[in-house]
């Protein structure tokens, strides 16, 4: 339960007398200071919403333009369809109890409920470097695969490193890359799903 007094203090709704008394409590009460820290973080998070909303709107305006640039691209269409399918599967809601990590007893349960394996980009015949690295992973050599992807030093290779880490259930490593990954619109839903799984799994670990 959130401390009403704390919220009133944060929102500057206290009288001078109340504020001084509350501040002296803050000095000695570590738990209260901790609550204030989370409230400040939540405020900053909420403060970012207008920026995120505007960026999302711009992406929506741009989306038809981008789509018309590559109408025949099979990969583009396939990614879009997969993205939409995943969006439907994405029943994880942070604001909904079903998505709370506490709903799952262990990572296996979380996996069964939320994780879907990606369509690994394996091509026959002449393989590109990413396909080669993924082939290595799927044949059991995770170390060489990740090292090869790391050497490519591209957002595409980083994305596939995340897929490998999540598949291999190393959520911290995946999350580390996810935080700096530049996300393509067509992959937004997939990235959100992976990120959500990682965060819930870390809580369960």
């Amino acid at each position: 339960m959130m401390n009403d007094e704390l919220l009133r203090y944060f929102d500057k709704e206290m009288s001078e007398e109340e504020r001084l008394s509350f501040e002296s409590r803050l000095e000695t009460d570590e738990a209260l200071r901790d609550e204030l820290k989370y409230l400040r973080a939540a405020h900053l998070m909420a403060d970012s919403f207008i920026e995120l909303e505007t960026k999302e709107t711009i992406q929506k305006i741009k989306a038809p333009e981008l789509q018309s640039e590559k109408p025949g691209s099979f990969f583009f269409k396939a990614t879009l369809i997969i993205g939409l399918a995943l969006a439907l599967l994405l029943t994880v809601k942070l604001f909904n109890k079903d998505g709370d990590a506490k709903s799952y007893e262990n990572i296996e349960q979380l996996y069964a409920a939320q994780y879907t394996e990606p369509i690994w980009p394996l091509v026959r015949g002449e393989q590109d470097e990413i396909s080669q690295a993924i082939s290595l992973y799927l044949s059991g050599d995770i170390e060489t695969a990740l090292s090869a992807l790391n050497n490519l030093n591209s957002p595409e290779a980083e994305y596939w490193s995340v897929e490998i880490w999540v598949h291999a259930k190393n959520f911290k490593a995946a999350l580390e890359i996810l935080e700096r990954l530049k996300i393509e619109d067509s992959r937004k839903e997939r990235i959100n799903l992976l990120m959500s799984i990682c965060q819930q799994a870390i809580q369960l670990e």
Binding site: R40, A42, L44, M45, T54, V92, L94, L178
Partner: protein, 196 residues
């Protein structure tokens, strides 16, 4: 809202703050406006950037303008929008190259920091997007208004609540959910607060 090639049309700032749909209409109008886009491009090219930089800066300008209109109650929509965008583009682009250390100290003194990216977006952008995309519409709205410092009475009015008590209750409920998510991600909270 009629869309003109020049934005000589006046924005209804109150409606802008109250309606996401209205904001989206304005966003589209500005984004598609060739005159504004050209003025930004011209500015960025003048300072040594390329067309790709100009596109990024143009988007940042829209984000910065919307932030300002939403959060600054004193703000009134600029008379000459192309000139306003050109000024913003200059500041934003110079700030960008300053942070990328592509500018001399003398030049950097001219780079204003009027476009300060939110530390959450800057440090934990993907996490913020995840939370944003998974919040309910009403929670997004009430928390946006709360963080921008709107009075409960105004929030109630904009959200069509019968009383400010209802707005307060909603804010409390949404904030509690958000804090619960934050508590589940202490590493992210650390990152968010470090940059304050």
């Amino acid at each position: 809202m009629s869309v003109t090639s020049q934005t000589d049309e006046k924005m209804d700032v109150l409606q802008f703050r109250a309606s996401e749909e209205y904001r989206a209409q304005w966003c589209k109008q500005l984004y598609k406006n060739i005159y504004i886009r050209r003025s930004v491009e011209k500015t960025v090219l003048y300072y040594g950037g390329n067309t790709e930089d100009a596109e990024d800066v143009f988007q940042d300008c829209i984000v910065a303008l919307f932030n300002r209109i939403f959060k600054d109650v004193e703000f009134s929509f600029p008379e000459n929008i192309s000139a306003y965008f050109s000024g913003m583009a200059r500041n934003i682009y110079l700030s960008k190259i300053k942070s990328a250390s592509r500018m001399s100290i003398a030049e950097s003194e001219f780079a204003s920091t009027d476009f300060e990216q939110n530390p959450v977006v800057k440090n934990c952008g993907n996490f913020a997007e995840l939370i944003y995309s998974q919040s309910t519409e009403s929670c997004k709205r009430v928390l946006m208004y709360w963080s921008a410092g709107y009075k409960m009475m105004d929030i109630a009015k904009m959200m069509n609540y019968k009383s400010d008590m209802m707005a307060r209750k909603k804010k409390h409920e949404c904030l509690q959910k958000l804090i619960r998510v934050m508590k589940g991600n202490p590493a992210m909270v650390k990152k968010i607060l470090n940059d304050e």
